[in-house]
């Protein structure tokens, strides 16, 4: 039972990160109908920048802020310079271009920083508090929950309570009408990419200290988990992606805890296959419309 409790809390903490990352994927999917396969590589790139700044200045938090700002800029840049010019007649094109970006980012990171794992320190202790003899939550877990929770609340407020959020939703769902009504659709798209990339950077900053460390390909498996989370929740549903993230986090934690860490990637693949074949619109979707986009 102790072990089960420990794994549950560990899973929720991991799941919160996957939720944030899945949320970033869903944001771009809703805005542009593109699954951003470069999300993981972009997050790693900003994490490298952040740790360079942190090393140079000695302040983790300065690096943290730099990561978020770099995410905003990178997201906007990718949309403005590359994604805007993708021919959308085939859904393959966006995917292929994103994968090209993955190669570019990984190659550049490897050239600048080298292909070794670099240690990445966490800002808080990762030792759990003692609750009745079991080490459950650590300071770092609380930080993760707080950060992801804040992002979810802020994004919800942005999309439901502000004129900008309304414009972004309008630009995504009815671009032509929105343009007629004076909404800068292109700008909203750029803003969507920027926000999503910043959320992805946050997820990267949260997950990298808990894994092996910084590496150009460090986010590959995280990307798969987050993509699974987004699919579990339904690619169109921000709330679904958060729930999906928690589900995937718990599953991974239980599987690693009881069956061994090397089985976990296979469990993600199995979950992805089952959900895609059984309920491709996600577990929480009401409509049974086929996803052909």
């Amino acid at each position: 039972m102790d072990r089960f409790l420990f794994l549950t809390f560990d899973g929720l903490s991991r799941g919160a990160v996957y939720a944030a990352f899945a949320l970033a994927l869903v944001l771009i999917w809703r805005a542009a109908r593109i699954v951003n396969f470069a999300q993981g590589a972009m997050a790693v790139a900003t994490a490298y920048v952040a740790y360079s700044v942190a090393d140079a200045t000695g302040s983790y938090w300065l690096g943290f802020i730099v990561a978020l700002v770099a995410g905003l800029l990178l997201g906007a840049g990718v949309e403005r310079v590359v994604m805007r010019f993708v021919d959308h007649s085939s859904p393959l094109n966006g995917v292929v271009v994103a994968l090209g970006l993955v190669l570019i980012i990984q190659g550049v990171l490897g050239m600048v920083y080298g292909n070794e794992f670099r240690p990445a320190t966490a800002p808080f202790s990762r030792d759990g508090f003692d609750v009745g003899g079991i080490a459950l939550l650590s300071n770092y877990d609380l930080f993760v929950f707080g950060a992801v929770g804040a992002v979810v609340v802020l994004l919800t407020l942005l999309f439901t309570r502000t004129p900008t959020g309304l414009r972004m939703r309008a630009a995504a769902f009815a671009p032509d009408v929105s343009r007629l009504l004076g909404v800068p659709v292109g700008g909203m798209l750029t803003l969507g990419w920027a926000l999503a990339a910043a959320v992805g950077s946050l997820a990267g900053m949260l997950v990298i200290p808990t894994e092996l460390g910084l590496h150009p390909t460090a986010m590959d498996i995280v990307f798969i988990s987050a993509f699974t989370a987004a699919v579990v929740g339904g690619l169109d549903s921000p709330i679904g992606s958060v729930l999906g993230g928690l589900i995937v986090g718990l599953l991974l934690s239980y599987i690693s805890g009881y069956l061994g860490a090397t089985v976990a990637p296979m469990a993600v693949l199995a979950l992805l296959v089952v959900v895609l074949l059984g309920r491709p619109d996600g577990l929480f979707s009401r409509s049974a419309k086929a996803r052909t986009a």
Binding site: D87, V97, L103, F227, T262, M266, L272
Partner: protein
């Protein structure tokens, strides 16, 4: 009436244009060129030539799947790993290469059929995501079952020495190009016939294809199985060339490289697959030389990575038809008379 006649004319003219190269002649000429090259090139170049042949097997299969049938697969690196590991396990037990290659193809075909069954129900980013997951996850299986696969170290492949009359490199080149030419020959025959027409129909409009009596799911699964068999063959050949297999040889970037190769060459064209296979060997070699002259280890692999990425993005944005499509204006001009 004249319109119908014109249509008939262009309809009959189209296949003859497509069939302007007799695959049998290509096969014979190709074999002759390869034999000539293996006796003139220095050993290292011959080894590179063998690698091009092995890459050609998988890029040809992948371009049929993605270009003709419209299914994107990022899992072909993992399928190659399946073929390579099957061959390694077989060789270390029985040491019978010819049978081993066939077994590797069969096992990979079976795995490909399973993925293909799932893939036939998925479209666009969902299919890409699933096959990406396959590419990332499959190498980790070697750590889970480390008694069989020996985790990150991988396995060495036992091989008999080549016949005394030829060098190892010559033998490798003959083996790989023999396999590659047969693959290209078979795929040419296959895609020029009914199967190829079905695939293109499914790619262009699934509903119309279904109305025309084509089973969309069966066509998609068949296409995946065919291209998986090609990937298995290529994997087995790589195991023979390297005389070892390890998960590090089949990273996600390998699958992305394969994608880049067929996109640059022009999706759905076997000539494009050849261009892609050549680039897959030539670009890293050039990057290696640049890295060496700059004296930077970091540059070596990553320069090729970056270059591939840039090429992939630029080609997708500027010429989605790929390099092989650059002749199209000329051809269009020529066929305007019809």
């Amino acid at each position: 009436m004249t319109i119908v006649k014109d249509r008939l004319k262009s309809a009959t003219a189209a296949p003859t244009r497509a069939a302007r190269l007799n695959p049998l002649i290509v096969l014979v000429v190709g074999a002759a060129i390869i034999v000539a090259l293996t006796y003139t090139l220095p050993p290292f170049r011959t080894y590179q030539l063998a690698t091009v042949g092995a890459y050609l097997c998988v890029t040809a299969g992948l371009t049929v799947l993605t270009g003709l049938n419209g299914q994107l697969s990022l899992g072909h690196g993992a399928l190659m790993a399946t073929g390579a590991y099957t061959l390694a396990l077989w060789q270390n037990k029985f040491n019978l290469l010819a049978v081993g290659i066939v077994v590797a193809i069969l096992v990979t075909t079976a795995v490909g059929a399973v993925i293909g069954l799932a893939a036939a129900r998925l479209r666009g980013p969902y299919l890409a995501g699933l096959t990406l997951a396959v590419a990332v996850v499959v190498p980790s299986i070697t750590s889970t079952f480390d008694e069989t696969f020996n985790s990150d170290q991988g396995l060495s492949v036992i091989l008999n020495p080549p016949p005394e009359s030829m060098t190892v490199e010559q033998w490798q080149a003959w083996l790989c190009w023999g396999a590659a030419l047969i693959t290209v020959f078979a795929l040419t025959i296959l895609t020029r016939g009914r199967f190829g027409r079905d695939m293109r129909a499914v790619r262009d409009d699934e509903t119309a294809a279904r109305l025309a009596g084509i089973s969309v799911a069966r066509t998609q699964v068949s296409a995946f199985v065919v291209s998986a068999a090609c990937a298995g063959l290529a994997g087995a050949l790589f195991a023979v060339i390297a005389q070892s297999v390890s998960p590090g040889a089949f990273p996600l970037t390998l699958s992305l490289f394969l994608l880049m190769a067929i996109v640059i060459g022009g999706l759905g064209r076997l000539t494009g697959a050849l261009i892609g296979a050549l680039l897959l060997v030539a670009l890293p070699a050039i990057a290696h030389e640049i890295g060496e002259s700059a004296g930077s280890q970091r540059l070596e692999g990553n320069l090729a990575l970056t270059f591939f990425g840039v090429v992939l993005v630029v080609v997708m944005l500027a010429a989605p038809g790929g390099l092989a499509s650059l002749r199209i204006p000329f051809r269009r001009f020529r066929t305007k008379k019809h």
